[in-house]
Symmetry: C2
Protein backbone atom coordinates (compact mmCIF):
# COMPACT_ATOMS: atom_id res chain seq x y z
CA UNK A 1 0.00 0.00 0.00
CA UNK A 2 1.39 3.36 -1.06
CA UNK A 3 0.00 6.83 -0.50
CA UNK A 4 0.89 10.07 -2.25
CA UNK A 5 -0.49 13.55 -1.74
CA UNK A 6 -0.92 16.41 -4.17
CA UNK A 7 -2.37 19.89 -3.95
CA UNK A 8 -5.01 20.69 -6.55
CA UNK A 9 -5.80 24.26 -7.56
CA UNK A 10 -9.08 25.52 -8.96
CA UNK A 11 -11.72 23.31 -7.34
CA UNK A 12 -14.65 25.39 -6.14
CA UNK A 13 -17.42 22.98 -5.23
CA UNK A 14 -18.45 19.39 -4.71
CA UNK A 15 -18.90 18.88 -8.42
CA UNK A 16 -15.24 19.74 -8.92
CA UNK A 17 -14.26 17.25 -6.22
CA UNK A 18 -16.31 14.56 -7.94
CA UNK A 19 -14.66 15.26 -11.29
CA UNK A 20 -11.18 14.95 -9.80
CA UNK A 21 -12.10 11.76 -7.93
CA UNK A 22 -13.52 10.23 -11.09
CA UNK A 23 -10.52 10.97 -13.30
CA UNK A 24 -7.86 10.09 -10.72
CA UNK A 25 -9.76 6.93 -9.81
CA UNK A 26 -9.39 5.74 -13.40
CA UNK A 27 -5.57 5.81 -13.27
CA UNK A 28 -4.07 2.31 -13.33
CA UNK A 29 -3.08 1.12 -9.86
CA UNK A 30 -5.13 3.64 -7.91
CA UNK A 31 -7.21 1.99 -5.18
CA UNK A 32 -8.38 5.03 -3.21
CA UNK A 33 -8.85 8.75 -3.79
CA UNK A 34 -9.59 11.36 -1.14
CA UNK A 35 -10.07 15.05 -1.88
CA UNK A 36 -10.43 17.93 0.56
CA UNK A 37 -12.11 20.84 -1.17
CA UNK A 38 -11.05 23.54 1.30
CA UNK A 39 -7.34 22.74 1.20
CA UNK A 40 -7.21 21.21 -2.27
CA UNK A 41 -5.45 18.20 -0.79
CA UNK A 42 -5.65 15.10 -2.97
CA UNK A 43 -4.59 11.81 -1.38
CA UNK A 44 -4.07 8.88 -3.72
CA UNK A 45 -3.64 5.33 -2.49
CA UNK A 46 -2.47 2.31 -4.44
CA UNK A 47 -1.21 -1.23 -4.10
CA UNK A 48 2.14 -0.19 -5.55
CA UNK A 49 3.99 2.85 -6.88
CA UNK A 50 1.94 5.11 -9.18
CA UNK A 51 3.52 7.45 -11.71
CA UNK A 52 2.89 10.99 -10.43
CA UNK A 53 2.73 12.22 -14.04
CA UNK A 54 -0.38 10.10 -14.55
CA UNK A 55 -2.05 11.68 -11.51
CA UNK A 56 -1.16 15.17 -12.72
CA UNK A 57 -2.53 14.32 -16.16
CA UNK A 58 -5.77 12.98 -14.65
CA UNK A 59 -6.25 16.15 -12.61
CA UNK A 60 -5.71 18.23 -15.76
CA UNK A 61 -8.15 16.02 -17.64
CA UNK A 62 -10.72 16.92 -14.98
CA UNK A 63 -9.99 20.58 -15.65
CA UNK A 64 -7.78 21.48 -12.69
CA UNK A 65 -4.11 21.91 -11.91
CA UNK A 66 -1.66 20.27 -9.53
CA UNK A 67 0.39 22.86 -7.65
CA UNK A 68 4.11 22.05 -7.46
CA UNK A 69 3.82 18.45 -8.66
CA UNK A 70 6.63 16.32 -7.28
Amino acid sequence: MTTATYTVKGMTCGHCVSSVKEEVGEVAGVTSVEVDLASGLLTVGGDGPIDPAKIVAAVEEAGYEVVNPS
Copy 2:
Protein backbone atom coordinates in the same frame (compact mmCIF):
# COMPACT_ATOMS: atom_id res chain seq x y z
CA MET B 1 -43.05 32.97 -25.97
CA THR B 2 -42.45 34.17 -22.43
CA THR B 3 -39.19 34.94 -20.66
CA ALA B 4 -38.53 35.29 -16.96
CA THR B 5 -35.30 36.05 -15.14
CA TYR B 6 -34.10 34.99 -11.71
CA THR B 7 -30.90 35.48 -9.76
CA VAL B 8 -29.31 32.30 -8.47
CA LYS B 9 -26.96 32.28 -5.49
CA GLY B 10 -24.23 29.75 -4.80
CA MET B 11 -23.04 28.66 -8.23
CA THR B 12 -19.25 28.55 -8.35
CA CYS B 13 -18.30 26.76 -11.56
CA GLY B 14 -19.47 25.35 -14.84
CA HIS B 15 -20.64 22.16 -13.16
CA CYS B 16 -23.02 24.24 -11.05
CA VAL B 17 -24.33 25.95 -14.17
CA SER B 18 -24.93 22.56 -15.78
CA SER B 19 -26.83 21.31 -12.74
CA VAL B 20 -29.14 24.32 -12.74
CA LYS B 21 -29.71 24.09 -16.50
CA GLU B 22 -30.56 20.41 -16.21
CA GLU B 23 -33.07 20.79 -13.37
CA VAL B 24 -34.75 23.93 -14.72
CA GLY B 25 -34.89 22.43 -18.19
CA GLU B 26 -37.01 19.61 -16.81
CA VAL B 27 -39.77 21.96 -15.60
CA ALA B 28 -42.95 21.59 -17.67
CA GLY B 29 -43.27 24.31 -20.31
CA VAL B 30 -39.63 25.41 -20.27
CA THR B 31 -38.16 25.64 -23.76
CA SER B 32 -34.88 27.45 -23.07
CA VAL B 33 -32.55 28.01 -20.13
CA GLU B 34 -29.63 30.42 -20.03
CA VAL B 35 -27.34 30.84 -17.02
CA ASP B 36 -24.60 33.41 -16.49
CA LEU B 37 -22.19 32.14 -13.84
CA ALA B 38 -20.61 35.49 -13.00
CA SER B 39 -23.87 37.33 -12.32
CA GLY B 40 -26.00 34.34 -11.35
CA LEU B 41 -28.59 35.42 -13.86
CA LEU B 42 -30.96 32.65 -14.92
CA THR B 43 -33.16 33.32 -17.95
CA VAL B 44 -36.01 30.91 -18.56
CA GLY B 45 -38.01 30.85 -21.74
CA GLY B 46 -41.25 29.04 -22.44
CA ASP B 47 -44.16 28.84 -24.83
CA GLY B 48 -46.52 30.09 -22.13
CA PRO B 49 -46.55 31.23 -18.52
CA ILE B 50 -44.46 29.10 -16.15
CA ASP B 51 -45.09 28.99 -12.40
CA PRO B 52 -42.12 30.78 -10.77
CA ALA B 53 -42.44 28.44 -7.77
CA LYS B 54 -41.52 25.52 -10.01
CA ILE B 55 -38.39 27.31 -11.19
CA VAL B 56 -37.41 28.14 -7.62
CA ALA B 57 -37.97 24.50 -6.64
CA ALA B 58 -35.87 23.26 -9.56
CA VAL B 59 -33.00 25.56 -8.60
CA GLU B 60 -33.21 24.27 -5.03
CA GLU B 61 -33.28 20.71 -6.31
CA ALA B 62 -29.98 21.46 -8.06
CA GLY B 63 -28.60 22.64 -4.72
CA TYR B 64 -28.77 26.42 -5.11
CA GLU B 65 -31.01 29.28 -4.08
CA VAL B 66 -33.02 31.92 -5.92
CA VAL B 67 -32.43 35.38 -4.48
CA ASN B 68 -35.61 37.42 -4.00
CA PRO B 69 -37.88 35.14 -6.02
CA SER B 70 -40.76 37.12 -7.54
